[in-house]
Every structure is written in C-alpha cells, then in structure tokens.
Symmetry: C3
C-alpha cells in the first residue's frame, strides 16, 4: 500500500485523494434526517466515504482489505456509469462504524490499497482491461459480487464488452474455477461497455485463470487500439 | 435572464441555443401518430422542446420559471447520462401548450434563464458542484423532484458522488430544512456520478443550507482537482 | 462493403477491427459453464462477437445483413451507454452458430458492412445524427427494434435528444409510414442523450421520410454546433 498524499484540505471531513480521481471522506455523526433518507442502519453514526470518477473494481477490492483490517462494515457500493469518457464505472462506497476513528481508518486503508489494485488495470484510448485477485474474499467482495467469504476470488474485465466475453471464456478454460457472475452492458452493470466475469475456487487455479485472461486481453486490446496496453501502476497478480 | 443568441437556423422549429450545448425547439402541430408514440395528452397540439448535452438542474430550474411565466405545462423531464465525458446528466424537457406561441415562449424563457441557473455550477476536470435555489417552486420542480408547490426549494449536487454525500450532510446540519430526496448513482439518477440532495422549508433556512454546502463543496472539489472550482457564469445564490 | 483491415493479432479468436473502435471476435467452442452464465441456448457451441465503443445502429443494421448472408442467429444485442464521451451507445452483438466457420463469417460480414452503415452518421462536438434504412429487415432488426421481417425499415436518431424529437416529427409527416418505436433517454435507451424513431412501410415512403429528417437534422445540429455535420464515411441513403 502506498503512502497517503499530503493533506490538501483543512475540513475535518477530508481524508485524502488517490488515483482515478478518488476522494476519501468521513462524517463523524451523520445528520439524523439525512441518515433516514440514505436508508442506513441508525447504529452507524459515523460513515466513511470513498468515491471515484474512474474505477470500481480497484475500489471494491481495496475496500475489502479495509473491512478485514478495521472495525467497520460496507453499507453501500454503487457504480455510476463513469470513467470520464471511458467505457466503465466510477464508484461510491460507504463504510459504517460506531466510532469515527474506525470509519476514518477504513477510508485510509482503502486509499492506501488503490495503488496496488490499479496495478492490473490497463487502459488505451480504445478501451481497458482489469484483473483483480484475492486469496481470501471478505464482506465488500461478497456484497458487490457475491464472492464466497474466505475463498479465493477474482474478476476479469474487458472494454469494449466484446473483449470481456473472450476474457471470460479464456479464464473459464484455463483452470477449474467456479463461475459466480457474468455481467454485461444490459445485465449487472450500469450500462457500462464491459463484460465482467467473477469466479472463485482453489487459489492456484483462480490465479492461473486470471493470468491466462490477462495475456489474451493485452493482445486483443493491443490489436484494437494499435498500442500496447500499459499498467496504470505496477501489476500485482 | 440573458438575451437570446442570434438566430442561426431558418427552420420554423428552431428557437435558439444556450450554454451547455442546449438547443430550444418548437413543433406547432405534432404528427398524430407520433403524438401517440410519445404518450403525451392529445390536447397539447404544440410542444416546446429544450435539450442539452450538459446540465439538468439548470434546465429544470429554468423551466420552472418558464411554466410560471407562460401558459404551458411541463410534460416530460428526462435525464440522459451525459455531460460530454463529465459525471452528470444532460436533459430533455418537453412543454405542452394548446397554442404554438405559448410553447415557443416557454422555450424562450427557459433559454433566457440558463445563464442565471448555471451560475452556481462549478466544474473542474475532476468533478463538479451544482447549487440551485428558488423562493417558490412550481410545476417543473414538483415533477422532477417532488418539490412542494409554492415553497422555497433547493438542491445540492456533488460529483464524484462522495462529495455530494458531504454536501447533503452539511446542508442538513446548517439550518432546519425538510429533506425531500436523496439521489445517488444507483437510486434516482441515471447512473450519474452524483449525490443530489433536495430540500424545502423556510426561505432563509433553505438559502443558508445551500450556502453552507457550497462553501464546503468548493473546498473538497478544490482538494481533489488541485484547482479552484469556478462558476460557469455568475453565482446567483 | 469495405475490405477487412490487415490482421493485427495472431489469436484464433481475433477476426478484425473496424470504424467506431469496433472489434470482431469468435469463440469456436464456448466453455460449458460460461455458456450457462451467459444464458445462451447450448446448441450454439460457436459464437461470433462484435463490440464497439461507438455505434449501435450501424452495427445492428450491419448484423442484419450478416444474418441474411450466413447460417447464424443473433443471440444478444446489448447497448452500453458509451460513444467515448459522446451522447449515444456502443454495442455488444453476439451471433450463435453450430459451426465456427458460420460464426466467423457472420462477424466478417458485419465488419465489412460498417463502412456503409456509418455513412449516414454525422457527428460534431455538440451532438450527432444517425439515419439507417433497409429495403428488407431481417432478424437482427426485428430483435433490436421490433422491425417486421421482410419489410422496409428505417431509424432516425438525434443527439441531444431534443433534435431527435424534431427528426421523428419530420419523418412522420414527410410520408405515410408506420411508427414502430419512439425511444428517449428514459425509455428504450440506456440513458443515452438520443431520441430514436423507428418505422416501417412502403419502401419509397420510408426512404423519403429518412431523407426529409436528415435534411432537417443537419440544419439543427449545424445551428447548435456552429459547424456543418459531416458523414463519418460516405452517405448511403
């Protein structure tokens, strides 16, 4: 995990920023009327908020590390259709905690992990690829994708969506994995131009499936865009 | 309200253009078969049409002034996911009238008010803020947001959506207002990357709540984008 | 139809690329578990896939020629909200076939027709227009728009959506046609900033209606954008 950037704002609500036009915020004591409007369990007085223009997978996998590491719960995961002109999602993730220091800590941990979880995001002007892998899924991945808690879990993402179909097929054939969800522009996404394939299984098999899909994806997106897809930070899988 | 720009098109359907890639159009006598397909009450032979690539709040608040000032009704308010690569909405607003001059007038008034209603829209490359306030809501605001007719009404908007959450909390705490709606990427928006908070109440309190949220929003978006958010025209609140 | 571009990728799944950041792919034998997740009839072992960042109408009309010319079926037509910052859709189209050579052929024919079906797509920085016409609709147009099989069929598209409303009215008045669907940002699109009008009828009348709408559309989009809308390739209607 990377260090947090220097504090750019004096408001107590401000926690920090990160790659993908991501901002991390905290509210110590949410207004009671707003709390009702948001539909959040009143026991979570404090909320931590992570939002981004670009990126949903990286933020959800980072939030999963945050819920493992802190005394907080993931209350909301919503995926706007964004990426600033790209084909994918942005994100809004809200953590709940009884104590403000726990909510703040969840946001900090999420921001710190983004440098890693953007490692297998590959963008070109024509589209993007994303690969995520964890040895042990927790509550954020369960809420977002239905990942079985405690199991190895991964996703492959391709945009335009046609590439994502081939990534899914490549992953499914490369090793014995359990498919959990296949999402496409009209089903399971916010009309993004992606196919997202989510699967769990034996840790070695899940990793092997992701790596095979990544190899194919880079060739296909490279052929479409006429340039080699590059990692947004440093590959981690 | 600003003056209308010079007429750039000789078609009788053309009314004018405005900020936000906005176009105003009028149809004197809608084709009968199309009328059915559109699902509009047949008594409105004439329709006025305002559409924009960028902006929904500015157009709805301007349309609200138009319905107050003219003999027309707001039949359709639809919010595409647009803003030309930004995180928000565009808009499609259709006025109905029995007489074409009323439909045209509604479009003209809407276009004229946009210079004002873009006054508290603040954009940066990383996101945007929007604040709108009226002392007396009418039928367009009622249809779009459920605003109580005749009451003071306002909205706060932040993109990325995380910022909008803090704006909502700031507004709710700054004065005693009645929350009407809390919209987020997956609920009440067209998957835009915004949280929109709508509220009514005593005129002074509503204004005070908006101003407090605007102050916080400019600091947060400034921290995310590394530049000071600037008004699209001239602030009016 | 244009010639396919030179093969840029050695993977057997790769077929080719085309205008609109379009990629064509084929899978000879879809993984059995993935096949279930995709909800496709198991008898189609082989699938052909066409996906694009920009363009849905051009791809669906091209796919309609492909199903006429090959032994394949259109299984999936999904419309992401894309166009890389523009106001419209991208596309994901999946063909099914019992034999891989048929699936590949369907993709090849689709890619070859795109140069033609982009002929009446007109883009400016402010918005876009699209017109499509066929003398005889087949299964892709039936699936996507409800076009009556074997009949003459056309669509008019305007973005921002306000322009599309006037195009629909112009087409409906220019000749005696049968309206089939009127789609707008909140109904029948993926929150795109378009109004799409689909109609069938006598071949001459349908063509006449499209040509009248095209003439009006170019004037309106020209007035909004301050530049003359230009064909993406060469007009074909």
């Amino acid at each position: 995990p990377a260090a947090l950037p220097k504090k750019a704002c004096a408001l107590t609500e401000y926690v920090g920023t990160a790659i993908g036009n991501t901002i991390g915020l905290v509210i110590a004591n949410v207004d009671a009327e707003l709390h009702k409007q948001m539909g959040i369990d009143p026991k979570y007085r404090s909320i931590g908020i992570v939002g981004a223009r670009t990126g949903a997978g990286p933020h959800i996998f980072a939030a999963d590390e945050a819920v493992k590491a802190t005394n907080s719960e993931v209350l909301v995961i919503e995926l706007p259709r964004d990426t600033e002109g790209g084909g994918g999602h942005g994100s809004l993730i809200i953590f709940g905690a009884e104590d403000v220091s726990d909510a703040r800590r969840a946001v900090e941990v999420t921001l710190q992990y983004l440098d890693q979880t953007f490692g297998d995001v590959y963008g070109t002007a024509a589209g993007h690829l994303e690969f995520q892998y964890t040895a042990r899924a927790s509550f954020a991945l369960n809420k977002a994708f239905g990942a079985p808690i405690g199991q190895s879990f991964a996703i492959t993402v391709g945009a335009p969506a046609a590439i994502g179909v081939v990534l899914a097929d490549t992953a499914a054939k490369a090793a014995t994995v359990d498919p959990i969800a296949y999402s496409s522009p009209a089903k399971g996404t916010s009309f993004s131009n992606e196919v997202i394939f989510a699967f769990s299984g034996d840790s070695g098999a899940v990793r092997q499936a992701v790596i095979a899909a990544r190899d194919v994806g880079k060739q296909l997106l490279g052929a479409l865009s006429g340039e080699e897809p590059k990692s947004s930070t440093t590959p981690y899988i």
